[in-house]
Structures are given as structure tokens and as C-alpha cells.
């Protein structure tokens, strides 16, 4: 790799969305040689064929252990080093573990060239998990609303309440029992299933 050439980066990730987010970020930052491996079969053969300078892999991927084979001395390939080998930068290691990403860097690539790749990787991984959290929260909020609507319907029918009275009853019960309204609503649905 020449000094001014963009290092070849391989992203190993089974999540196509996260890989796309990361790839886009890397390209925007001027790293043009980015490849994504999604299929974990023959992972090592693909990596050897691509011959990357940097390998990025998520920590939830069991195939991290497959990459360990690259460290075996008998292999006649360029030897990568795991990011964790350089313990001088504890903060960066901590940040990447928290974000859930790990990097393998081929020997010889300068530290100052790695740092921006890693930082970008960490921030994109964090952005992705934030997005995932928001999506999960939105999903469960929608679920809750559906359950609450159905519970209100049952209360209105069984107890002859208006919609507002039904909601007030749900809310006051939730407060008294120190539970979420969604949970009280769910138990009403369960009870009404049982009593059918």
C-alpha cells in the first residue's frame, strides 16, 4: 500500500444495515476501498483473497474466533494485529468495546492512519445502536397503545364506562400497583381471555 493510497478496509458484519451505515461513513471520510463480507462461510479464504489492511468486525459475531487463525505463524500471509494489542490507548479500546466493534490491523499501517477509521467506526456503531433502541422503543410504544386500546374497550363494555373513564381507571390502577399502564392493560386482556 502506498502512503497516499486509501487503506483497504473489510467490514465483517451480518447486519447489512449497520455495514451500510459504516461503509457510507468511511467513504464520506475518503476511505474508498471498502468491502463488506456478510456471508460467514469460508470467511478466512475471502479475507485472504481481498488482502485488506484493516478488518472491522462486530463483537457479537462468533466468527471473531475464525480470525484468530490469521495469527498462526505457519500461515504465509501478511500478519494482522488485533486492536487490543496496543494497550497504550485504553480509552479507545474501552470505547470500541462499548460500541461493540473490534478491529484487526495489518502490521505496518501507521497508528495515525488507524485512529480516524476506528473513531468513525465507533461513532457509527453507536449511532446504529441508538437507532436500534429508538426503533425498539417505538415498536413497544405502538404495541402498548394497541393493548391499552383493547383493554379500554373491554372496560367500557363490561363496566359501562366512557372511554375517558376507562383510561382513568387504568391509570389509577397502574399508579396504585406501581406498574406501567401497558402492564395493567395486558393483564386485563389476559383475564378476559381466561374468562371467555
Amino acid at each position: 500500500m502506498g502512503a497516499d493510497q486509501s487503506p483497504k478496509i473489510v467490514i465483517v458484519d451480518e447486519s447489512p444495515i449497520r455495514a451500510a451505515i459504516l461503509e457510507e461513513g468511511l467513504r464520506e471520510a475518503g476511505f474508498t476501498a471498502v468491502e463488506h463480507i456478510r456471508e460467514m462461510q469460508s470467511l478466512l479464504a475471502r479475507i485472504y483473497a481481498l488482502d485488506p489492511d484493516v478488518i472491522l468486525i462486530d463483537l457479537e459475531n462468533p466468527s471473531r474466533d475464525v480470525l484468530e487463525q490469521m495469527f498462526q505463524v505457519s500461515r504465509a500471509v501478511r500478519r494482522p494485529i488485533a486492536m487490543f494489542v496496543d494497550q497504550s490507548d485504553a480509552a479507545s479500546i474501552q470505547a470500541s468495546v462499548d460500541a461493540g466493534v473490534s478491529a484487526y490491523i495489518v502490521d505496518g499501517l501507521k497508528k495515525e492512519r488507524i485512529k480516524p477509521i476506528l473513531d468513525l467506526c465507533i461513532s457509527r456503531f453507536n449511532a446504529f445502536s441508538k437507532l436500534q433502541d429508538e426503533l425498539d422503543r417505538a415498536k413497544s410504544a405502538l404495541e402498548d397503545r394497541k393493548v391499552i386500546d383493547r383493554a379500554k374497550g373491554i372496560l367500557m363494555k363490561v363496566k359501562g364506562l366512557t372511554e375517558e373513564e376507562a383510561y382513568v381507571l387504568l391509570r389509577s390502577t397502574a399508579m396504585r400497583e406501581k406498574k406501567k399502564i401497558g402492564e395493567i392493560a395486558q393483564s386485563i386482556l389476559t383475564a378476559s381471555e381466561l374468562l371467555k
Partner: protein, 389 residues
């Protein structure tokens, strides 16, 4: 006040003592507030232990040694005060390879020398016909699985680096890889061999105890510096684990232990499969053939939990034999010092003597008895290897 600890593990049956120690409340009784963290790779377990996210971990015994010596990765000295298990692995092969081996075998199918020689004939026939070399999966470069497969093959004059392909496969991918023909066999721990058999796509060829009668498999690992700063916590951990191992080894407790291990957030497979492993009663073929062995997996009985530096020396010798490092007397001593019978004994407490380990390390089916003080003699006894010049 209780001490909070984070302990990492891989969902395998040989994490039994750790999981039971926590879920039966033995660690809590010692004043330890343990959070078990299930992990997906040995690399994660090692790295999180190394950088201090985990206080302790269920770890491959060779990884504890490699980490202490700085082989293949960053050097972080590890201390192992408790063996989580002896043996417990098995070699499974596809029905096709099994049939090929049985067509060539001259002797008892459970005799590893007979199967290794049969493998050599199958390998030779494949080479002659221009077929692809056989591929075997194992779990990690620094793993007992790797060394057990290599030891077995090499005894039959099959060179594991020249005559076949050995590939690292995460245990959850082993079964699929056997099904789709990506590998012809593998060496892995429980429950994965049984799962391959239950699915009808694999046959257990050998229990690892056929190859080595007594081989340490996983250890409870802590960082050496942490262990020196927290001797009381280490002793409390060892005590809780000794109780757990004793609980598991009582036959009347096996069903309960299997239920605890089967929980979805622990190992997450059928309790029945786990109990077969603990009982050493394994279905070895899809037709339902059962094979029993009192040496399949030892969790504490016969002194199995007490670390034995001779075991560390044997593992270190395998690293040299297969070219992962070159011999040095200092490294040998450092490897042996990872295994700490003294810390185990301290946890056991006064007035209790641990059972003597029987038989001693490692009881291999081929080659001379292992002498931890003569690594050169051990290596000289084997023709095939990748030793550094």
C-alpha cells in the same frame, strides 16, 4: 456487603460448575454478587477478561497459557485456581466419512490408533483419486480441540497441516458446516456433538478421553494481578465452585443441574442433552446407539477440579509441537505457574484434603508417558510436528 463480579462464559456444558455456583446461590452464600455474561466467542471472553470488563471467566485452558505467554495476542498473565472440567470433547464425523473409516478399519472402532490408521488410508485413497483433502473443524487455535485432533491424526501418520485441512469454526456453526459438507468432521465440546447426532448428520467417532485419559479442558480464569489484589475473593470463588462441582457430581442432583444449565439465558438447549453429557451416556449414532464412559466429562470428581501444573506443561508442549511457539525453560515455568493448586487448596480450607488426581496428566493413547520435566523427550517421541528449528 457483597462483592459485585462479572464473569463471562460460553454456552457449553463444561461451564456447569460456574453456572450452578451462581444459580444455586453458592456464590451468593460466599458474599459474591455474580453477574454471568454469556459470550459468543473465545476472543471476546479473552479480551474482556484482559481489559477488566470481566473479573473472571470460563476459559479454554490453552488460552489461559497463551495469554500468560503473550502468544498470538497481548500478554496478560492469567491465574487458574479451579479446573471447570476434565475431558468433555468428542470427535464427530459425517456419516460418509464414518462409513469410509469403517471400511478401512483394522481393529476396534473405539481404538484411536485403529481409527487414525484408517484415516491415513482414507486420506491416501482420496489423494490418489484427486479428491479434495478432508476438512476438520475445531474451536480455536489455542484449544484442546485443536491439540486432540492433531494428536490423534498424527499418531496414524496423518500430518494435520499437510494431509488434511484444519479450520476454526465457532461451535454454533459446527453442526451446519457438517450438514452442508463444509467440514467432514470436527472436535468440539458438549452439547454440539449430541446435536449433530440427534439431527442425523453426524456420528461420534471418539470421546476425547479415548485420546487423552485425563486432559484439562476449561479453567476458571482470573487476571494474575487481580488475583493477587483479591485473594479473599478468589478463595470465595473457589469455595463456591467446589460446592457446585460436588453438587453436580451427585447422581441424584444431575436432573436439577441439567435443568439449571438448560435455561435459555445459560446454555439454552434441552436438559436431556445436557444430562446425557453429565452422565457420560451419549447417543453416538443417529440409530440410537448409546456409548457410556465414566471419563467423558469430569466436573470435580476424582480430583478433577484441582489445577495440575503438569497439564499446563503438556499443553505448552503441544504449542511447541505445532509451531505456535519455540521452547524456552522460562516460558515452560510461566505456563506451569498459571495452574495454581495452592489457591485451590486454600479455597478447600484446612482439614480437607483433595482427592489425588487419577490418573495423572495426560494418559495419551500413543507415545511415552508424559514427563513435565522432559519436554524435549516428549517432542522427540513424535515424528510429525511443526517445530521451530
Amino acid at each position: 456487603m457483597s462483592t459485585p463480579l462479572h464473569i463471562g462464559f460460553i454456552p457449553l456444558v463444561d461451564a456447569a460448575a460456574l453456572i450452578v455456583a451462581v444459580d444455586k446461590g453458592f456464590t451468593a452464600a460466599e458474599g459474591l454478587d455474580v453477574t454471568l455474561v454469556r459470550e459468543v466467542s473465545w476472543s471476546n471472553v479473552r479480551d474482556k477478561l484482559n481489559i477488566g470488563l470481566f473479573d473472571a471467566a470460563h476459559l479454554l485452558a490453552p488460552v489461559a497459557i497463551a495469554s500468560s505467554l503473550g502468544l498470538g495476542h497481548v500478554k496478560v498473565p492469567i491465574t487458574a485456581p479451579f479446573n471447570l472440567g476434565l475431558n468433555g470433547n468428542a470427535i464427530s464425523v459425517s456419516p460418509a466419512l464414518h462409513a469410509a473409516l469403517m471400511a478401512e478399519i483394522d481393529g476396534d472402532p473405539f481404538d484411536p490408533m485403529a481409527t487414525a490408521l484408517a484415516l491415513a488410508r482414507v486420506v491416501a485413497a482420496r489423494r490418489k483419486s484427486g479428491a479434495e483433502p478432508l476438512t476438520f473443524g475445531m474451536t480455536f487455535p489455542f484449544s484442546t480441540h485443536n491439540y486432540q485432533l492433531r494428536f490423534w491424526m498424527a499418531a496414524g501418520a496423518v500430518d494435520p497441516d499437510e494431509d488434511v485441512r484444519l479450520v476454526v469454526l465457532p461451535p454454533p456453526y459446527m453442526v451446519d458446516s457438517l450438514r452442508n459438507g463444509h467440514v467432514d468432521g470436527f472436535c468440539v465440546g458438549a452439547p454440539w456433538n449430541s446435536i449433530a447426532v440427534d439431527l442425523g448428520i453426524g456420528r461420534i467417532l471418539h470421546f476425547a478421553s479415548d485420546i487423552l485419559i485425563s486432559a484439562v479442558e476449561k479453567v476458571l480464569a482470573v487476571r494474575q494481578d487481580w488475583s493477587e489484589r483479591n485473594p479473599d475473593v478468589v478463595a470465595a470463588l473457589v469455595r463456591a465452585h467446589i460446592r457446585a462441582a460436588e453438587f453436580i457430581e451427585q447422581p441424584q442432583n444431575r436432573a436439577e443441574a441439567a435443568r439449571i444449565l438448560a435455561q435459555p439465558e445459560r446454555i439454552g438447549v434441552d436438559a436431556d442433552v445436557i444430562q446425557r453429557t453429565l452422565d457420560g451416556r451419549l447417543k453416538i449414532a443417529p440409530d440410537g446407539t448409546i456409548r457410556t464412559s465414566c471419563r467423558y466429562l469430569l466436573v470435580g470428581r476424582e480430583g478433577a477440579a484441582r489445577p495440575d501444573p503438569a497439564q499446563a506443561a503438556w499443553l505448552y508442549a503441544q504449542m511447541i509441537r505445532w509451531g505456535q511457539t519455540a521452547f524456552s525453560p522460562e516460558a515452560l515455568n510461566a505456563a506451569k505457574a498459571v495452574f495454581r493448586p495452592d489457591l485451590y487448596d486454600a479455597g478447600l480450607g484446612v482439614g480437607r484434603k483433595s482427592e489425588p488426581t487419577s490418573p495423572s496428566a495426560v494418559g495419551a493413547f500413543a507415545g511415552p508417558a508424559f514427563d513435565p520435566d522432559d519436554i524435549a523427550g516428549h517432542l522427540a517421541a513424535f515424528k510429525i510436528g511443526r517445530r521451530h528449528p
